[in-house]
């Protein structure tokens, strides 16, 4: 029988399904009899859902970001080939 301490330490592994079958069964049994640990698990699960939901849209690079990166790399090429020292961009 798992203690609350052991369950709390294993919440993320359980949530990520990174756990042996028999231990999963023990976790489920513990949640069935311990509402505090069940609430710990439910709120942790929802925290991750909320965070993923907020960050589900792909990030778009700002306009000009690619061009500025290319410029920085071109200046580095010049510098590495002994060209004039580049100005900081």
């Amino acid at each position: 029988m798992l203690t609350c301490k052991e369950v709390l330490e294993s919440l993320s592994d359980y949530l990520d399904a990174d756990m042996k079958e028999d231990l999963i069964g023990e976790m489920k049994r513990h949640f069935g009899s311990c509402e505090d640990c069940r609430a710990e698990f439910d709120t942790l699960t929802m925290t991750i859902k909320l965070y993923k939901h907020e960050h589900s849209a792909p990030v778009v690079m700002p306009v000009g970001c690619h061009d500025r990166l290319v410029k920085v790399l071109e200046l580095e090429k010049l510098r590495s080939k002994g060209g004039p020292p580049p100005k900081m961009v």
Binding site: S12, D36, A39, E40, L50, V59, C65, V70, L73
Partner: protein
């Protein structure tokens, strides 16, 4: 025609093929920027990290041994560059190894009923952003790579040069810290039911 592999582009880049390196930049710039922005939460800082990352990659490509994939290597440079910036900005925090250890559950309010999108309003988003910003940099790295970029524990361990056990430990503690912040928000702003008190 099959796409040229990263390995092939790396090999050509080592031979000073500028177009090959340019192709690697095209393939990874968005991913690098995205990771940097999610770690730093500031577009200017993210762009600085993007430039720093590819400058380091350009300078280091000839010594890249290929022990890991190019993607792991470029993410490692990104994560380290972002970490340096975070450390400069953040005030000293408590030791990350012994934070938030608890023996037993507290009587935590259950605010979970209902779908995530119904809970997520501007105020909560702000609360969550602040919770992420308050994470120690080493926690934030792991949290973003695992829960946002959805990499595996093994990939994150490889990128951050940590053991899988250390990744799992940091991830769990980061999640708990963010959850506790949200729990505080809900206890102040919502009407949760307390399971342990027996909701009727």
């Amino acid at each position: 025609m099959p796409a040229v592999t990263d390995e092939e582009l790396v090999r050509k880049s080592k031979e000073d093929d500028e177009r090959a390196f340019g192709e690697l930049v095209s393939r990874y710039e968005s991913k690098v920027y995205s990771l940097a922005l999610r770690m730093l939460r500031n577009p200017e800082d993210a762009e600085d990290v993007l430039q720093d990352t590819f400058l380091r990659a350009y300078r280091g490509i000839k010594s890249f041994q290929g022990a890991s994939t190019f993607s792991t290597w470029i993410y490692r440079i990104t994560a380290n560059s972002a970490l340096m910036r975070l450390r400069k900005k953040q005030l000293p925090t408590v030791s990350i190894e012994n934070a938030d250890e608890r023996e037993a559950p507290v009587n935590i309010a259950d605010w979970t009923p209902g779908p995530a999108e119904q809970l997520l309003n501007k105020e909560l988003q702000h609360e969550m952003d602040e919770a992420i910003e308050a994470l120690p940099p080493e926690f934030r790295q792991v949290f973003v790579l695992r829960d946002v970029e959805e990499m595996s524990n093994a990939e994150v361990a490889d990128i951050l040069d940590l053991s899988v056990a250390a990744v799992k430990s940091r991830l769990h503690r980061a999640r708990i810290k963010v959850r506790n912040r949200l729990a505080g928000y809900f206890s102040d702003n919502a009407k949760p039911k307390h399971r342990a008190m027996g909701a009727h």
